[in-house]
């Protein structure tokens, strides 16, 4: 029996699944939309990319802006000061937080038939977006970051306003989900756990147990886990490949598939809560879902820390020339590592390549190597395909760009 699952996510994705005796035998992911943003960038001034790239995605536009900025800065051999780094991280972490909260409630809770406090969720999203907008002007789609720094120059007043917002979001968050204590789950975390148990989904969706992260910041360092061992991850080992009947490209690291995203990040950071879950449930949807919501708490704490330690007397911007050349850099977005690669010739973009997190998680199998999504689906109950697919927090508009 063949099932065709059409997911209306941000954009649209097809999941072709064949089932036998209620179990998934084979799976293939296709993305039917396309805009051609990499092509649009060719021949333009490198700084044009700062305006165009955020529009790749309405949910993680901030990450695209910063990936562009970092790639151009890397080309110039420039490293921004602490103040700039902190402001950029604050806004990017805000974007990740709002994404995770939306996904957790609007997707996971909704799909599992769980109710939630819509009003509080809404207020949290609103406040975290306001916090980002204090520094970035607006959310989504902002342009406040540029090679050399940021355009905003916050005063103590704005820092205070931001501190209040993050405080309030943290309070709401704790009230909603309770503590991340594996032996003593409460509130929404407990309700989610019980629902997964009730539906016999706790151990479902196990994948290759390989994790990779390319972005390096104050939250996580670039590295990978293969066979339980942590090793550095090098950008030059990444290869993209075309896929049939889909506008998305697949991507491998040294010919192998890896999972990226909150689960990979928390595993690489060695966060106890996620490690404990992983010991019992491996990389099943349980660990994947909990890791993502766990990250919200950690990121909010980071934002708060940055707001407390930021030195606003440092300059917001250092003048910078962008030379010709070729380079590649990565940044952590909500859904995982976002990689931008640029080649500049005679002051114009000759080539621009964007590799998004969903490409890592949703590549189809190749050359006998099973992929993350395929491994997670094969052998699972057919009814569980939807929640397994969704547990990766897919973004189709990013993936096809």
């Amino acid at each position: 029996m063949k099932i065709e699952l059409i997911e209306k996510i941000e954009g649209e994705a097809f999941l072709d699944v064949s089932c036998r005796q209620g179990k998934v035998r084979d799976a293939y992911v296709r993305f039917p939309h396309y805009r051609g943003i990499e092509k649009i960038l060719v021949g333009r001034d490198p700084l044009d990319a700062l305006v165009i790239n955020p529009r790749v995605c309405g949910i993680c536009g901030h990450a695209h802006l910063q990936a562009t900025v970092r790639t151009l800065e890397k080309l110039a051999g420039f490293e921004p000061n602490e103040k700039v780094k902190k402001i950029r991280e604050i806004t990017r972490f805000c974007e990740m937080v709002q994404n995770h909260i939306k996904w957790f409630y609007l997707v996971v809770f909704d799909r599992l038939g769980l109710t939630y406090d819509f009003r509080t969720v809404h207020v949290m999203i609103q406040k975290i977006n306001m916090l980002a907008a204090i520094f970035s002007g607006q959310w989504p789609h902002s342009s406040y970051a540029l090679p050399g720094g940021v355009t905003c120059d916050p005063s103590q007043l704005e820092i205070l306003q931001a501190k209040r917002l993050v405080q309030s979001v943290r309070e709401h968050f704790v009230l909603l989900v309770g503590a991340f204590d594996i032996k003593n789950l409460s509130k929404d975390l407990k309700r989610l756990y019980d629902r997964l148990e009730e539906r016999d989904l706790l151990y479902t969706g196990k994948s290759l147990d390989r994790f990779i992260t390319f972005g390096s910041d104050s939250y996580v360092q670039s590295s990978k886990i293969l066979h339980g061992k942590v090793r550095p991850a090098k950008l030059h080992n990444i290869r993209e490949f075309g896929q049939e009947k889909s506008h998305a490209k697949g991507v491998t690291y040294k010919g192998k598939f890896y999972e990226t995203g909150p689960l990979a990040r928390t595993m690489l950071r060695g966060d106890l809560f996620v490690k404990q879950l992983h010991r019992r449930y491996k990389d099943s949807i349980t660990t994947r879902i909990f890791a993502r919501i766990y990250e919200v708490g950690t990121l909010l704490k980071k934002i708060d820390e940055h707001l407390r330690t930021i030195d606003i007397s440092e300059p917001s911007y250092t003048p910078l020339e962008i030379p010709d050349g070729e380079t590649m850099s990565a940044i952590e977005a909500a859904r995982g590592s976002l990689i931008h690669k640029v080649c500049i010739e005679k002051g114009k973009i000759a080539e621009y390549v964007i590799i998004t997190p969903t490409q890592w998680n949703l590549s189809n199998a190749k050359n006998g190597e099973s992929s993350i999504i395929k491994k997670a689906l094969i052998g699972a109950q057919c009814e569980a395909t939807d929640i397994i697919f969704r547990s990766f927090d897919i973004c189709s508009v990013c993936t096809t760009h």
Partner: protein, 409 residues
């Protein structure tokens, strides 16, 4: 609809914003609105929600609500006497069905509009509009969602407002982008849904002018809704993303009057796009005083000086961001020290991209004139009555000669 033709239909005069149309006009309009609201009241609500109750639950007093109504009345450029009608219209929002589709997009408008935020009351009102179908937000996925869309179209034939987010590929990309199981192209999908709509609202720059996908070399042949649909009234709400307040404004106007709001030559509601960013910019005084940011991070930047020299497109961009702002009005791009990038103007990806030397760039004037001009011609003719700011602008002397030829002055 051909844009050049459209533009020629409108003279510069008609593109001007007329905020006082005289007593007789408003009296007549008031009566029509009154009749329309009475008519709507008789219809059974599509969603059984009492807004008074919802607002009360949210801790918003009647007084706050009326305050919001009077601000919205002003935004819609109606006299204060319309405030009670606007309040009533807000309460009747659940009588107008809305279908929202996403085409070649990034979901940014949906994020800005429904899942993110807007001014507090706006957002509650949006929760009660009768959103019959929205691709990203709908719980059912795939085949189920398609069935639901079909139901919504059949139930509300000729009555629903169709909101479109994203561009439509009509060139090489036509066959590359398809919808759902049917495999319809975006163009077929849009035309089918447009046929039964009361009016179409194109939300965001992609749906209005093609946006990012239409940037050169336009790999997919992307165009806006008005280039594809020609048998229905179209309202364009450009900007990337569109401001939620303007979306509410359009729906509210429709509920209130049963008509689409007054539009300019690019089909944008005049209440939102009648003025330039520059006209109401919080940094305008610095422009007039000749105080500019000369380099990112300089003293001028620290003192919130005018960003014109850093490439701000506020003077050529028609939008109300400087008044309405974003994210609970907490800030807006210029507030974060970055100039306006002109994201609500047609073709801005190719013409306005922000690092270009402004004096050389040929920018299409909109909406009151189709002639391409460089920024400094623009500036001398239109920017400022006092001319103080421009007088000390670095290139002012170089182009001073053009002033005498300027036909706009």
């Amino acid at each position: 609809m051909n844009r050049e033709h459209l533009r020629s239909l409108f003279t510069a005069k008609s593109a001007r914003v007329d905020t006082n149309k005289g007593e007789a006009y408003y009296k007549n309009l008031y009566e029509r609105c009154r009749a329309r609201l009475d008519e709507l009241k008789k219809i059974t609500p599509l969603r059984n929600i009492d807004i008074a109750q919802v607002l009360e639950d949210e801790g918003i007093s009647r007084r706050d609500f009326l305050k919001w109504a009077s601000a919205t009345t002003a935004m819609l450029m109606l006299p204060a006497s319309f405030t009670p009608l606007v309040a009533e219209a807000a309460e009747l929002m659940n009588r107008v069905p809305v279908i929202w589709i996403e085409l070649q997009d990034c979901a940014g408008n949906s994020e800005a509009f429904i899942r993110a935020d807007g001014p507090k009351v706006d957002e509650i009102i949006l929760e009660i509009i009768s959103l019959e179908f929205h691709e990203t937000l709908m719980a059912p996925a795939g085949h189920q969602a398609e069935a639901q869309l079909e139901d919504a179209v059949n139930n509300f034939k000729g009555k629903y407002l169709l909101f479109v987010e994203g561009a439509i590929p009509v060139g090489r990309g036509r066959e590359w982008c398809t919808i759902g199981a049917s495999g319809e192209t975006f163009e077929e999908h849009l035309k089918k849904l447009a046929n039964d709509a009361a009016a179409i609202v194109a939300v965001g720059t992609c749906a209005t002018f093609g946006g990012v996908p239409a940037a050169a070399p336009n790999p997919t042949g992307a165009v806006g809704v008005m280039d594809v649909v020609n048998n229905k009234p179209i309202i364009n709400i450009p900007a990337c993303p569109a401001n939620p307040a303007n979306i509410v404004g359009v729906i509210l106007h429709y509920v209130l009057t049963g008509q689409i709001p007054e539009l300019d030559s690019l089909l944008r509601p005049k209440f939102a796009f009648g003025y330039r960013i520059h006209d109401n910019c919080e940094r305008r005084a610095h422009f007039d005083a000749g105080e500019f940011v000369e380099e990112w991070g300089d003293e001028g930047a620290q003192n919130n000086f005018c960003l014109y020299k850093m490439g701000c497109k506020g003077p050529m961009t028609f939008n109300n961001c400087s008044i309405v702002r974003y994210n609970e009005s907490v800030n807006w791009p210029i507030g974060a020290g970055h100039g306006c990038i002109g994201c609500s103007e047609p073709g801005f990806w190719d013409k306005y991209a922000y690092e270009r030397p402004m004096a050389d760039a040929n920018i299409k004037m909109a909406p009151n004139g189709g002639v391409e001009k460089s920024v400094d011609q623009f500036g001398l003719g239109l920017l400022t009555a006092a001319g103080v700011g421009i007088a000390i602008h670095a290139v002012a002397s170089a182009v001073a000669g053009k002033k005498s030829e300027g036909e706009e002055a």
